[in-house]
Every structure is written in C-alpha cells, then in structure tokens.
C-alpha cells in the first residue's frame, strides 16, 4: 500500500505538472507527449498510437496487443505586431493571449498472431487564434473606418482517423486510414469580400464571430519497411481536406447606413493541405531510438490558406500561405527500466510570405525552430505517464504595409513565439 501511495502521488504530480508542446503552419508540430518530445519525428519509428495515427497509419502494425494513448497539449503564443510608417511613425500591438488546450486520444491493436492491425483516434491536430483590442494609436487596429478595429480569430481542427494496417511481409507493412476532420472557425471582422461602403468610400467589414463547425473527409496511406534490425524507413501521403465553406449569421456593419444591423450571411472556405511525410528510424543500440523525418505541406492553392494573399481588387485576401518543408529529428533513450528521456528538434519553413505580411495578421504562425524534450515514467507495467515540453522562440515576418489600393505606407513586422506542454498516459496491455 505504501508503494501504491507513492505511485499515486507521482501520478498526481505528473498530471498536475505545468509542461509543454508546439505548432507549425496551422498544425501542431507533434501529437501527444512522445511524438511531440521527439520534434514530431517518427514516420518510420513505431512507438505509440498518436504519432502513428497522425503521421503514418502503417505504423499501427507495430503494435503488440493494445496500445492506448491519452494526452492534452497546453500552449500559449505571444503575438506582437509592429508598424512603421514611411514618415517614421511607429506603433506596437500586443495581442491578448489565451491558453489553448488540445486533447488527443489514440488506440491501436494488433493480435500478435495476426497480420491485421486496427487504429482509431480523436486527435486535436491544428489551431490558431489571435485577439487584438481596438487601438486608435495603431493604423491597423484603429476603430473602423480608420483601421480594422478590434479583430479576433479562432481556429480548431480535430482529426478522427479509422485506420487499418497489414503486415505484408515480415519487413513490410502497409496502412491506410479514413479521416474525418472537424474544423471550427471564427473571425471578426472577416476582412474579406463582405464589406459595406459609406458615401465617403470607407469600408466596414462584417463579422463571422461565432465559432462554427465544418467537416471534411480525407484519406491517408503509408508504408513501413524494416530494412535491417537497426534501420527502418517509412512514408505517408495525406490527401487534401475539402471542408464545406463555413457559414455565419452576420449583419451589415456600416454604422451610418440604414441597413446597419440588418441580417446578412458571411461565408469562407478554409480547406486543409496535402501532406507528404517520409523518414528513417534508427536503433543504434537496444536502448536508443532515433527518428529523422521530412515533410511537405502543400498550402499553395488550398482554399483559404493558399490564396494569393495581400491586396486584391481593394480587398485583403487572408493567409496567402506558401507550401512548406519541415525537417524533424528526435531521439529516445531508456535511462532505466522505468524512465525514458526524449529530445527533439523541428525546423519548419514559415508559410507566411513577407510580401503579403498583412494577410498573416489573423494567424501569425511565424514558428520555425521547435526545441522539444520530455520524459516518460513507467508507473505500472501497463502504464507510462508521459510529459513533454517545447519552446518556439520569437520569429518575425517583415514586409510592406499597404493601404487598400496597394500603395505601400510603411513596414509591418509580425512576430510570435510559442510555449507549450503536454501530459499524457500511455497504456499497453
């Protein structure tokens, strides 16, 4: 009972520890404390269900019996927008920051006597948010019509994969999953094509402020090949996610118009990118595992994220993201029978383009360098308590600050940093 109490106290401490995780583009860089601590790497390294269901369904063939993961990612960013006008006038806006909480659940099963494996999950996959108060000292956030006024955005995406894998040969496994995606999105005002014009030609943008849902279905296919006992390779492709356009009840926004407050509907289409991942897994010795991955996220051309960005026909086109490459590396070392340490690094190109930096204001995902680490403690033979943390230092995207005619008025510097932590439980039985 004494030992049991010590374990319970430890479980409690681990559950309550303030720890961390991170994000790239709109997506979290890794899912669950194990994958996240290893920089999101592991497309060729089967360890647990959350990493497998997120990056390569073929990895679920590596399960022996049941493996269940449950985790929560807590992260907080720190957005700063600096403006400098051609005349030398400067301004700074600091967004109100909120703690984001993203849970994830994953299960994978393979009967050791069989060749077929099954997986299921509910995975918080992506998100962004910004919350700027009105500031008359700012050109960007001055009350309308001088600026956009108060702006907030909120985006959350959950992936629900149902996955199958088959051990084709002792060395080769193939996997596929059908993924249901649920996205939730709010933006107020929606600085896009829905605006009202007053007689002085000032624009007032309608809001899309209620967090509304949209759904998409996409597939993911992958392979895992154990080339030698010390080396494996793996890869996967995730098809683009075609979400139904978000629709909001809204109102006419020009306060000087007799139509002010009258109903209108705003819509916006925000889809998800095709993703290709590939990697190598190394086991230099019995206690050490190393994963090195590459990933390509094709944001260009994706509705919403991959639009042209910048000023088009006098309208701010949101996002304007480019496609990005990501390089990930992670290592896991078993320090004792009960303790495992993990470290990782993840470098992602920034999807934001300096030439259309204004379009990044609602989601300044400047994150590039992700420094990660974590550990797991085996509390019982069937349970590992896991925790990880990550830090993404402040990075900037700097570009021209145009007016709605496209004339450059100065410089816009949007920067952000991210601190996150994850806690979770990893069951095997």
């Amino acid at each position: 009972m004494n030992c049991c109490f010590r374990r319970l106290v430890l479980v409690g401490c681990v559950l309550l520890l303030p720890v961390s995780a991170l994000a790239q583009g709109a997506m979290l860089h890794g899912i669950g404390p194990i994958n996240s601590a290893m920089g999101g790497a592991g497309v060729a390294m089967p360890i647990e269900s959350l990493g497998a269901l997120t990056f390569n369904p073929a990895l679920i063939a590596g399960a022996e019996g049941n493996q269940i993961s449950f985790s929560t990612d807590f992260f907080q960013d720190a957005i700063i927008i600096d403006t400098r006008l051609n005349g030398g006038l400067t301004g700074r806006m600091t967004a109100t920051s909120h703690l984001s909480i993203v849970p994830a659940f994953g299960w994978m099963l393979r009967d050791p006597k069989g060749k077929l494996a099954l997986g299921f999950g509910l995975i918080g996959l992506a998100g962004f948010g910004a919350d700027y108060p009105t500031d008359n000292g700012s050109l960007l956030f001055a009350a309308a019509p001088g600026g956009f006024g108060r702006i907030y955005t909120d985006y959350r995406e959950t992936k629900i994969p149902v996955a199958l894998a088959y051990q084709v040969t002792p060395k080769l496994a193939l996997g596929a999953s059908m993924n249901i995606y649920m996205g939730s999105f709010a933006v107020a005002p929606l600085p896009y094509t829905f605006y009202d014009v007053d007689p002085a030609n000032n624009r007032f943008y309608a809001e899309a402020g209620k967090l509304n849902n949209s759904w998409a279905i996409a597939a993911q296919v992958g392979f895992f090949y154990q080339a030698t006992p010390k080396m494996s390779i793996g890869a996967s492709v995730t098809t683009p996610q075609n979400f139904k356009p978000y629709t909001w009840n809204a109102t006419y926004a020009n306060p000087g118009s007799p139509l002010f407050g009258q109903p209108r509907t705003t819509t916006f289409d925000l889809d998800g990118p095709m993703i290709t991942s590939f990697g190598v897994g190394l086991k230099p010795n019995a206690k050490t595992k190393i994963a090195i991955d590459g990933m390509f996220s094709k944001y260009k051309g994706v509705n919403g994220f991959g639009g042209p960005g910048g000023i088009n026909n006098g309208v701010v086109d949101p996002f304007g993201w480019r496609s990005v490459w990501t390089v990930k590396a992670g290592a896991q070392r078993e320090m004792s029978d009960k303790l495992t340490l993990r470290l990782g690094y993840n470098y992602s190109q920034m999807p934001l383009r300096p030439e259309v930096v204004l379009s990044a204001t609602g989601a300044p995902a400047t994150f590039q360098h992700h420094f990660c680490g974590g550990f797991g403690i085996k509390m019982f033979p069937f349970l590992e308590m896991v925790t990880s943390f990550y830090f993404v230092p402040r990075q900037h995207v700097i570009g021209p600050f145009p007016d709605l005619k496209g004339k450059v008025q100065g410089t816009l510097d949007e920067s952000n940093k991210l601190t996150g932590g994850l806690i979770g439980m990893n069951f095997r039985f």
């Binding site: 409690g12 449950f70 703690l99 919350d131 849902n213 407050g261 439980m425």
Partner: protein
C-alpha cells in the same frame, strides 16, 4: 482472419453510426454511452469509469484492474422563439449546429488492494444559440429596436483526479479533486454594460470570442453494498467558482463618436452545488437497475442563478431556479456479447416562466429524456458502445417585458434535443 475482419467491419460501422445522448440544466444528464443510455442513473451502480467520475467517485472502488472509457457525444438542438404582441405574432428559429463533446475516463484498482484511482476528461455541459437579426421580430430586430443578431456558446469540461477506498467489504468512500475548464461567448452581452445614445436607446457590446475560465471543486461520495441484490450510493459536488470571463470588446453605439472604441467586458458564470443519491438493484444475474435522485442548486450561483428578468432597465441573464432530477435506467445482458440499456430522466426546468426573456441565450427547456443503447463485446477486453437520447420539445412561456419591465406581450421559448453517443470501454 475472417472473424477478425468481421469484427473490424463492425467496429467501423459502430464508430460511424450516427447515434445519440442528452442534457438537463446546462449539464449533460449522462456521461458516456452507458450512463447516458441509462438515463444518467447509476450513483449506486458501478459499471464504468465515466459514470463513476461524473457522479460518484466511490464507485471507483468496484473496478477490478483497469477500466478505460472513451466516448463522444454528438447533439443537436432545435430552438424556437415565438413572440405575441397584441395581434402580431413572430417566430425566430436559431441556426442549429451539431455539438460535439468528447470524453475520456480511466479507473484502476489492484484487486489485492483497497485503494482505487481514477482520472478523466469529461465534457459535462454546454449550450448554444445562434439567432440571425430579423427586422420583423421584436426580439431580434436590429438595434436599437431589438437585440439584433444574438449568439451564445458555452462548453464545460471536468478533469477529475479521483481516489476511492474500500473501508469494509460493503462500504467504499471516494473523493475527487476536479478542475473545470469552461469556455463562453455571447454577442451581444445583454447585461449591465451598454451604451446609451442621445435619444436614450441602448446598444449592448459583444463578447463574441470563445474565452476560457477555470475552477476547482471537490466531490465526495460513498457506495454501500447493502445486500447482493441492493446497493446504495450518494455524492456531493461542491460549487464551482470560475474566474471572471474577460473579453476585448468595443463601444456599440453606432451614433456615437466612440463607436468601435476599445472596452473590456467581464461576466461571471459559476457552477452549481450538486447532491446525488440512488439505489442499485440486481434482480437477476443478467439485469441491473439504477434509480437516482439529484438536486442541483442553481439559485444564487453567479450567472445562472441571478434574479433574471429586467433589473434596473437591463436584462439579467439566466435567472435559473434550483432543480430536482429523477433518473432510472436498466441494463440487461442479452447474450455473452451484447448488453442492452434503456433509461428515463425527468428534470425540472431551471428556466422560470416569469423571466422567460432571460432564457433566450440558453433556452434549455429539456425535461423528459428518453434514452437507450447497447454494447457489443468485440474482444474480451473491448466493448463497443452506442446510445441515443431524445428530448421532446418543451416550452417555457411567460411575459414579454420591455426594458422598463412593462409587459408588452407573450414570449414562448421552446427547444428539443437529439443526441447520440459512441464509445469504447476497455477492461484489462
């Protein structure tokens, strides 16, 4: 392999089947497909972790080994607001979306020991409304004639860390420390902060971004196995005191020079004290029956338990009363692999007809909850679960006052809910 494939196909079907669960007051009446199918009853009937972690931590002591539950509830409301002013009648229908509440629970007891442990992340409450502006409606006409477009969004998660101890072979006691995370948005916020035009018209600012707040609370319970066929249980959940929600907002008076200027809004919504008690019956080896009572003390709770109605010329939100809930559920093991469940839950309505206007943001009229479900044992360690809940339309009807409190007509707010839950229960 053929059997294996059949099981996989069945699992796939179960996971994708659109099925159902439900809500009373602002809280879901049950947690997970098993507890929901049984009408939320089970404070004296240990079956699985989600019900135990939600209603009575002492039930953890009954687990043998590990029990893990994972479930998701999908629900959809159908809100209607009918107004009658003189001979004029109007109807507003809220735009409805599917709500999604995921839930996870784990409980563990070493069969050789007396101590049990539990942990969960449980979606326990939510409400939402989304009314477009409607010039023909008195309530939703654009400001200043009405409130204009209104939306609300509230979500609450309970994160319990629970312990239970088997004091005697018949008696177990339990306690949990619960962290609550709630998110709330309302636009406009029709409370005490408003802007007044020079003609005396009121404009309420928005609090539209979904913003989080945390609370801590405790829960204590007991479970007593009076005889092999009968058990008793009870639990007490302390009130939950959340931090104030805080939003960046703006001045809302379009006729003012300050229109759009920055302001900060605050609002407080706490959680109620809850008292649950019940009896569990096992009339046969294959049948279990649960009958519960529950008291939820909304009165006096910041936010929910305010006076409601028109207070000093402002609409006081919610204005809820305390409620009693009666729950009953039955589980029957039809075969070794299949269990069916049915339940009924009657909850008093927290909304008060005399302050029906205050219910507009959360017209939770739900009273009668009809539920059912089943579980199929796919493997010795895994039961796939599904349940449905249907709450027929119910109404709260009362006076429609203007901001001076003068009755100008009648307001009829009604709602119905259909929900489904799917989940997995692991035992090992």
């Amino acid at each position: 392999m053929s059997c294996y494939v059949k099981r996989l196909v069945l699992i796939g079907c179960l996971v994708l089947v659109p099925v159902a669960g439900w809500a009373q007051g602002h809280m879901t009446p049950g947690a997970g497909p098993i507890n929901s199918a049984m009408g939320g009853a089970g404070v004296a009937l240990p079956i699985e972790s989600l019900g135990a972690l939600t209603f009575n931590p002492a039930l953890l002591a009954s687990v043998e080994g590990n029990q893990l539950s994972f479930a998701t509830e999908f629900f959809k409301d159908s809100i209607q607001i009918d107004t009658t002013v003189g001979s004029a009648k109007g109807r507003a229908t809220s735009t409805s979306q599917v709500g999604v509440l995921p839930t996870f629970g784990w409980m563990l007891r070493d069969p050789r020991g007396k101590l049990a442990l539990g942990f969960g992340l449980i979606g326990i409450a939510s409400f939402s409304a989304d009314y477009p502006a409607d010039a023909s409606s008195i309530l939703f006409a654009p400001v200043p004639n009405g409130f204009g477009r209104i939306f609300t969004d509230y979500r609450e998660i309970k994160i319990p860390v629970a312990f239970a101890y088997q004091v005697t072979p018949k008696l177990a006691v339990g306690a949990s420390l619960n962290t609550y995370l709630a998110s709330f948005a309302v636009a406009p916020l029709p409370a005490s902060v408003y802007d007044l035009s020079i003609t005396g018209q009121r404009f309420y600012p928005e609090a539209g971004r979904l913003t989080d707040s945390f609370a801590l609370g405790g829960q204590f319970g007991f479970y007593y196995q009076a005889s092999p066929m009968m058990s008793l249980g009870g639990s007490f959940t302390t009130p939950q005191k959340f931090g104030r929600y805080k939003w960046n907002s703006t001045n809302a008076d379009p006729t003012s020079r300050d229109f759009g200027q920055a302001r900060v809004l605050y609002f407080r919504i706490d959680g109620p004290m809850i008292l649950s008690f019940g009896v569990g019956l096992k009339p046969g080896p294959k049948t279990k029956i649960a009958i519960d009572g529950m008291f939820t003390k909304y009165q006096g709770v910041a936010g929910f338990g305010g006076p409601g109605g028109i207070v000093n010329g402002s609409v006081d939100p919610f204005g809820w009363r305390n409620i009693w809930t009666v729950k009953a559920g039955v589980e029957h093991q039809v075969t070794d692999k299949m269990a069916v469940r049915a339940g009924y839950n009657y909850s008093q309505m927290p909304l008060r007809s005399e302050v029906v206007l205050s219910a507009t943001g959360a017209p939770l009229t739900f009273q009668q909850h009809f539920s059912g479900g089943f579980g199929v044992k796919m493997f010795p360690f895994l039961e796939m679960l599904a349940s449905v809940v249907y709450v027929p339309r119910d109404h709260v009807v009362g006076p429609f006052p203007d901001l001076q409190g003068r009755v100008i007509g009648t307001l009829d707010e009604s709602n119905q809910r259909t929900s489904g839950l799917i989940g997995m229960s692991f035992k090992f």
